[in-house]
């Protein structure tokens, strides 16, 4: 249990650092930027403490907001994603997911991909709706959500399979 906690703290710090130093400076076509820091929420152990996940996601988002000068939009999106994560598990893996041990960082099955896809879409749509905050930008919001989601999913999958833990 203790090593899982350490791994989570390490992931929290590393993903934030990578996001702030590298991915926040990526602006494809001026407005598309990937947000792979939500991998922390996606990869959080399935059967661990849910309150811990919600609180740590809130602080994850809050630190991102601090660096992006964006009020509370990342915090809101992260908290919503953290709270609805069990429902997305049910949607992607079927009802009995708690009894299986889900490991996301193994070969990419359709279930795992659909889980990442739904999580990223949910986070991004909340994020961009709150960022624009006006209905006249609805096309802009949808466009940004679509393209940023594609880039986030690609970078997330690359990160997951690059730092796959070694099998003993």
């Amino acid at each position: 249990m203790n090593s899982a906690l350490l791994v989570n703290i390490f992931r929290f710090i590393m993903l934030l650092a990578i996001q702030i130093v590298i991915f926040n400076n990526m602006n494809f076509l001026g407005y598309i930027s990937p947000f792979p820091y939500i991998l922390y929420i996606i990869l959080y152990p399935v059967n661990s403490n849910k309150a811990g996940l919600i609180i740590s996601s809130f602080f994850l988002g809050l630190i991102m907001d601090m660096f992006c000068n964006s009020g509370g939009i990342h915090a809101t999106a992260c908290v919503i994603l953290a709270y609805y994560r069990p429902y997305i598990f049910k949607f992607s893996f079927g009802l009995s997911y708690e009894y299986q041990t889900i490991k996301l960082n193994e070969s990419l099955t359709p279930e795992r991909f659909s889980f990442i896809l739904v999580s990223v879409l949910m986070h991004h749509i909340v994020l961009f709706v709150l960022e624009a905050f006006q209905f006249k930008f609805i096309w802009d919001i949808l466009l940004r959500t679509l393209f940023s989601s594609i880039f986030t999913i690609i970078t997330s999958i690359i990160i997951i399979y690059l730092i796959k833990p070694n099998k003993r």
């Binding site: 407005y31 809050l62 660096f67 000068n69």
Partner: protein
């Protein structure tokens, strides 16, 4: 009583979620309303320090562009100097466009965003150097933005590429003024709204800051007229302005202490107290 406790324990995750959602939504809504400073901003020692470290590396990449800009500015100043008859006999200028040299703080942009609807810059000077909220920020080419929030060593700037920013601006050749806004689309262009139809505007005219705001001195460059639209409902022009500044590439900037600022604040406080 026990049922209340049972209810709280059973729904603890949901209550925690609703509490944190409330806090973060509150922060979001608060950040979207204009006349309040942010609670969460990048002007603090943690994010300011990190951005300063990152900027130290990035600076090397931009040395050539920064040097070119300095050389151009130097050449322009030299040409001004050589065109005077005898510079040694002239009295030293005590103001430039109404601003004393002592009222300018030189600072450096350590973080810059331009991809969202509400963009901010972070500068590496703060209240220790005398920076206060609502001071104007310019560079050698034109205006950059307005100070939003300060900490002892860092400050954040509402960029002109921010949909909340409204800056008083006018045509250089006549005194017709309007307010400068951004529609959130292109980083090279801003919109000048509420210009009366009486004004004769044509493509290529220069737009400068107007004298109505106390944030910027009058006559600081903004950009040139690109296209002119007529608003159908009102009798005003909307002018698309091409910025002189490349807002995606900013190095050193100047912060202007407004000359009439103290007087205005004193006046406003007097009105509040009465």
């Amino acid at each position: 009583m026990q049922q209340i406790f049972n209810f709280l324990i059973r729904n603890s995750n949901r209550l925690l979620f609703l509490l944190l959602l409330g806090i973060s939504l509150g922060l979001t809504i608060q950040s979207h309303s204009y006349h309040r400073s942010k609670i969460i901003s990048s002007a603090n020692f943690l994010s300011g320090g990190v951005y300063e470290k990152i900027n130290r590396v990035n600076e090397y990449m931009n040395l050539r562009a920064e040097n070119d800009e300095l050389v151009l500015e130097n050449a322009r100043l030299k040409s001004l100097l050589f065109n005077k008859e005898d510079t040694s006999k002239l009295p030293l200028p005590d103001t430039i466009k109404g601003v004393k040299p002592a009222d300018i703080i030189v600072s450096k942009v350590i973080h810059n965003t331009y991809s969202t609807h509400e963009n901010f810059l972070t500068l590496n000077s703060g209240s220790n150097e005398g920076v206060k909220p609502d001071m104007g920020v310019i560079n050698s080419l034109g205006i950059v933005g307005i100070i939003d929030d300060t900490s002892p060593r860092y400050s954040t700037v509402v960029s002109i590429l921010n949909m909340k920013s409204r800056i008083n601006a006018k045509l250089k050749k006549s005194n017709h003024f309007g307010s400068l806004t951004w529609d959130g689309k292109s980083t090279g262009f801003v919109q000048l709204r509420d210009v009366p139809r009486l004004a004769s505007v044509k493509k290529g005219d220069t737009i400068v800051t107007g004298g109505q705001s106390v944030i910027f001195p009058e006559g600081i460059n903004i950009g040139t007229v690109e296209t002119i639209y007529k608003e159908t409902q009102t009798s005003f022009y909307v002018i698309k302005v091409k910025l002189f500044n490349d807002m995606t590439n900013l190095g050193h900037v100047y912060i202007i202490k407004s000359k009439d600022r103290e007087e205005l604040i004193n006046l406003e406080n007097k009105e509040k107290n009465e």
